[in-house]
Symmetry: C2
Subunit: 211 residues, 2 copies
């Protein structure tokens, strides 16, 4: 039965086409600019057709979130090769913040938006890539603590610390809340200084590690 297989392929092709165009719209116009109807006209199908390939918009945004995690992982490929777990942790933090600031539309889906999480909840599924990222960071922390002989510290709590510090920085910056800094001329400089400073603080505070 080659027909069933060809149909399966064709089905996947259209799914891919939808996600490809969704990606283009997301990059150009953000999550708010990504509507089912715009997506439909873009791929030259009717809006109803999209619902033959995805349950709802949340599922599409869920898939986009997964693409975002792949994108982030790609930007971190060189990290995995680093021997020193402390340098690995620092680089993860630095690249995480970098990614959040420069690829906000992806970051927003991954760590801020409710839609992809709604899909996960509805499907009673797990937040796979998020857990994987967290587990890797926690593993790095454990390795660092082990190497330093700090047996009393919890690597999972340490990972959450690092993560939420970076996340807070990214989200406040992107949603324009750092406008509180009165020195408008040097606002950009303050932000960059804060990025470095946050990482330094965290590294010292968690690992007594001076950069």
């Amino acid at each position: 039965m080659g027909i069933a297989e060809r149909k399966e392929r064709e089905k996947q092709d259209i799914k891919d086409l939808i996600l490809l165009k969704a990606k283009e719209i997301l990059i150009k116009e953000g999550q708010d600019g990504l509507s089912i109807r715009k997506l439909a006209t873009e791929i030259e199908y009717s809006p109803a057709t999209i619902y033959l390939y995805f349950q709802d918009k949340d599922e599409i945004l869920y898939q986009m979130m997964n693409m975002g995690f792949e994108k982030m992982a790609q930007s971190m490929t060189h990290v995995y090769a680093l021997e020193d777990p402390l340098k690995r942790i620092y680089e993860i933090g630095r690249l995480y913040i970098e990614f959040g600031l420069h690829e906000w539309e992806w970051y927003h889906l991954m760590f801020n938006s409710a839609s992809p999480m709604n899909h996960i909840e509805r499907c009673k599924a797990e937040w796979g890539p998020g857990i994987a990222m967290y587990d890797y960071l926690a593993a790095c922390c454990q390795e660092a603590f082990l190497q330093q002989g700090k047996t009393d510290r919890d690597p999972k709590i340490a990972a959450l610390h690092l993560w939420s510090a970076a996340h807070g920085l990214v989200t406040l910056a992107v949603t324009n809340r750092f406008c509180v800094v009165e020195d408008h001329a040097h606002q950009e400089a303050v932000r960059n200084h804060l990025i470095e400073d946050t990482l330094k603080h965290i590294m010292i505070s968690l690992f007594d590690y001076k950069i």
Copy 2:
């Protein structure tokens, strides 16, 4: 001319009525559940009438944001009386996180949503209450540094540190991202532990202050 004054009063009354009902809807159904049309039927006027009192939805959400700041300030009244600036800072942090977790709909408008900031940008206005909050925190940090003789440290950067750590914690928790913690049974306990731990870490890291 008592008529002009009466009309002014009536105009303000309807504005207040709109904001009062908007507040009720916000609390019950969140920002997503707050629509102009629902608000209109609730106050028994047509949707178009609302546009005679507010430029657009962003302005209403901007006013709600201001109400949120008042609410937060009220929850912090006892802080201002504390003599020790370090205890003041700790309490601000603790109450800030508490507020974010328990009054998320307000917090979201204040520190996460784009709508109120869009209104500010359109009016070329400043983020008044946000700046006030930040300035107060920075002043507390400066007082603490001064008391400790730490003249080399920047209180403004310190305030941003504390703020973004607390903000990261709140937003990751509320948007359900802490589901990464595999220990589902003790997830709540982990979260509470993290809140305490974050504050402790920040206090030590910024002020060498052990709680």
